[in-house]
Amino acid sequence: MTVTAVAPARRARLDLSWPVLIGFALILCALIVLPMSWLVYFSVTDKGHFTLANFVKLATDPTFIDPLVTTVILATSSAVICCAVAAPMGWLIARTDMPLRRTIRALVTASFVTPPFLGAIAWELLAAPNSGLLNQAWRALLRDPQAEPLFDIYTLPGLIFVVSCYTFPYVFVLVANALDRIPGDLEDASSILGGRTWTTARRVTIPLALPALLAGALVAFLQAMTLFGSPAILAIPAGFHTMTTKIWSLFQYPPKLELAAAASLPLLVLTVLLLRAEHMILGRRSYALVGGRQSDPRLVRLGAWKWAALGFAFLVLLNPVFLPYGALLNAAFSRVATQIVSFGNFTLRNIEFVFFELSATKLAVRNTLILGVSSATVGTLIAVVISYVTARKAIAGWRALAFLATAPIAVPGIVLGVGLFLSYTRPPFVLYGTLWILLVAFVTIALPAAYQQLQAAFRSVSVDLEEASRILGATRLQALAHITAPLLRTSVIATWCFIFVGVIRELSAAIILFTSETKVISVLIFDLNESGDLGAIAVLGLIMLVITFAVVIAINRIPGFGAIRLRNA
């Protein structure tokens, strides 16, 4: 390649690339290798002695096998459902002239912003078999108060449904962004050669979007597998465990850390295998799409079908957005959470309680904001550098970096929480009890998805632009800063927002790592759910959503920063 040819001439000048890259490798080690080492160590020990007893118990005890099977069913079903819904949605929004596309995209973002545990609680309000609003409506419709419920959210299908509702945006964002980036001229070429709309979609658009869809399926699977809040809220009342809730239950006093560590390793192995599989499927093809020249994506005209498409989109959005938000809003102002607000039972009691009586509100909101902004900034920075290194194979150990950056996705937040707890409660790094440990946790948890997102973006930006810059004498970092980063601005902002939202949603690691001084809103809501204070949860949940939207919109409005994204959307 041209780069190697000119490299010797450039050597003489100061190039900070290597120290920076090595520094980031070290950070990754601190984030991931240290806690994971502790986990592995714990999984093969029993009070300091080497043993495989934990794994034997894991493989033979039905109270471990059942949750594992449940988890695989949950993750697989959710991934399939998410792809089946997100792919057509993404295509409709990115590539067709369906009306209200911008609104719908914003609404999907809204469902992404909704923490899964909040969604699960909202769906309890909607579809608990007896008190759920939908079931009440169903019985009213049949005029039979004894009728069997239409929905029962406290079941495995109920859980799969709720998990899919709040995992689907991941797939949607990946697919829609990929479709945004597919240049119109490829499709035009297909049309000019006589391909009809459907042929073009099938032969050009879909294959080009496939990597994103596969990545989306993978992310959905892993999300569903490692999710803690929704199963804790829906599966425990139903009397079954998933792996994450099982692992959580192992931390009841006295904590069985060894077993918990061992129980998390099958999830890690599964993830590694899946990532290998993805690599084998996609690895041989090249998907560089954004070159020096680009034309805008071409929109498919739907004609009369556009109203059907719009109906489909709204029907989908009913589940993660309209119904749950309606239920939460209702619960916030109703004396009884599952009664429709009327003159008789309207109350401001919940608002008053959360703002003026609940002594943890202010602290939790402040901690959440601090952590959200700092984790998003630090996490984006790390993800940009690492995805650059791996996408451009910039240093010899890039494969290891890629693995490290992806590995945390296999570790349920709660287990990562324990790994971090073990790592950072002893010298030289005593971070427990401070916000730092939560920052480390949140960055680590956000990293895989942020990395995947940015890496996909880097892959689609052709390397020739950078090479041009480097031929003209720029260092790697200069090329990154002046050429690649601006091209990826949309992705970078999206990643920042993505991490910020992820932090707000995060519950599973926080639940292990918080202390009373470092409580965040998600933990507060979870505590409130434990004692069934649904009105207060509704108010806090809505506050949380308002904060999130305010920040996301503010970031997108910074002049010359997020403007592009808004225009595209």
Binding site: I236, H241, Y253, P255, S359
Partner: protein, 355 residues
């Protein structure tokens, strides 16, 4: 109405006798520490600290009301409530102390066994509020002055009166095994709730574990905190609760919700919630002040009137319309036994109920 076979006195005497032999196994030590009155100096010192952190399992709205009433009584001292199920509070304190984090000033658990453990580990400060010294019966205070019963209540059965007619309602734990309750029962969990931990011990002892095995076949809805079953009843999500806080049922019933308490003929598990101040409290003076305040007749009357709890302070009055405490047939509490068996209870429970 169930007929009472054991008076509350009998129960208390029995538990005292038991306590004397087990809990306080070394009673012949120096006399209990002297009562500490609330002095202007203490108030001043507490104001300087400016805040106090209270870990508790009291149902949150009530806990916040207690905290707010303290703040009203002593302006300038912010009381922050850290509320979770007692077993989670216990785990949290263990986790924090293991890492040398001393965030908790004062604790109120719903599992009296916790106080035994903390005291044995040397974590508790001997602090005897004046009211405790003067008015509290011996069986409701530690002879070494490290804890005393801030609140007492029972875990009861209850039903939603718009879903179940009074004559069809269960009268006993045995009644809950009737097939007509399949899929209609809500129940809290001993892994999270101290109340249910205590109740599970007493019920397993008196009714046998077979009882729980049969109950598990009723397809119960499993929630965590003992404050939640009453709320699920009020929503109409389930018709009957197998266990849960009497005090939440009182609160809900008196606010007009369709819930009715049932005092099982077998007796209702007796729950005692001790208060304790930590030696390493970051705000030691505010902690003492809050502890003293919580045992004052005003605060104790508040937890009765607003909270629906029972008080052992003889200067308090019961609220009319509730079953008088003397007429509640309780099971016998035994914190020391709970402390020894808590792991086994959790393990057996998980085996039976799958979660």
């Amino acid at each position: 109405m169930s007929k009472r076979s054991l008076s509350r006195r009998d129960v208390l005497k029995a538990s005292t006798a038991l306590a004397a032999t087990t809990v306080f196994a070394s009673p012949l030590r120096a006399a209990a520490p002297p009562a500490e009155p609330v002095t202007p100096a203490l108030i001043e010192a507490a104001r300087k600290e400016g805040k106090v952190v209270w870990y508790t399992s009291v149902d949150l709205p009530l806990a916040e009301k207690i905290a707010k009433s303290f703040e009203a009584e002593y302006p300038g001292i912010a009381a922050r409530v850290e509320r979770a199920g007692a077993e989670r509070v216990f785990q949290r304190i263990g986790q924090e102390y293991a890492s040398n984090i001393h965030a908790v000033d004062i604790v109120n658990s719903s599992d009296a066994a916790h106080a035994i453990v903390w005291k044995r580990d040397g974590l508790l400060l001997a602090h005897v509020p004046e009211d405790v010294a003067k008015f509290y019966p011996a069986e409701h205070k530690d002879p070494d002055g490290t804890f005393a019963s801030f609140r007492v209540w029972v875990s009861i059965i209850a039903y939603n009166s718009s879903l179940v007619k009074a004559e069809d309602a269960p009268k006993s734990f045995a009644d809950l095994l009737d097939p007509k309750w399949v899929g209609k029962i809500v129940k809290a969990h001993p892994g999270y709730s101290g109340t249910i931990m205590t109740a599970t011990y007493q019920m397993a002892r008196d009714l046998g574990w077979e009882y729980f095995e049969k109950l598990a076949k009723q397809r119960i809805m499993q929630v965590q905190s003992s404050a939640d079953p009453p709320k699920k009843l009020a929503l109409g999500e389930r018709a009957v609760m197998a266990d849960g806080n009497e005090y939440n049922i009182f609160q809900l019933k008196e606010s007009g919700q369709p819930v009715e308490p049932v005092y099982a003929t077998e007796g209702s598990p007796l729950i005692v919630g001790p208060n304790a101040v930590f030696k390493a409290a970051p705000n030691p003076n505010a902690a003492k002040l809050l502890n003293s305040y919580m045992f004052s007749p005003e605060a104790q009357q508040l937890i009765i009137d607003v909270g629906g709890l029972r008080s052992m302070h003889p200067q308090t009055k019961e609220k009319p319309g509730r079953r008088p405490w003397s007429e509640v047939k309780t099971m016998k509490d035994d914190a020391a036994a709970v402390e020894k068996m808590s792991e086994e209870i959790k393990a057996r429970y998980q085996k039976i109920f799958k979660v």
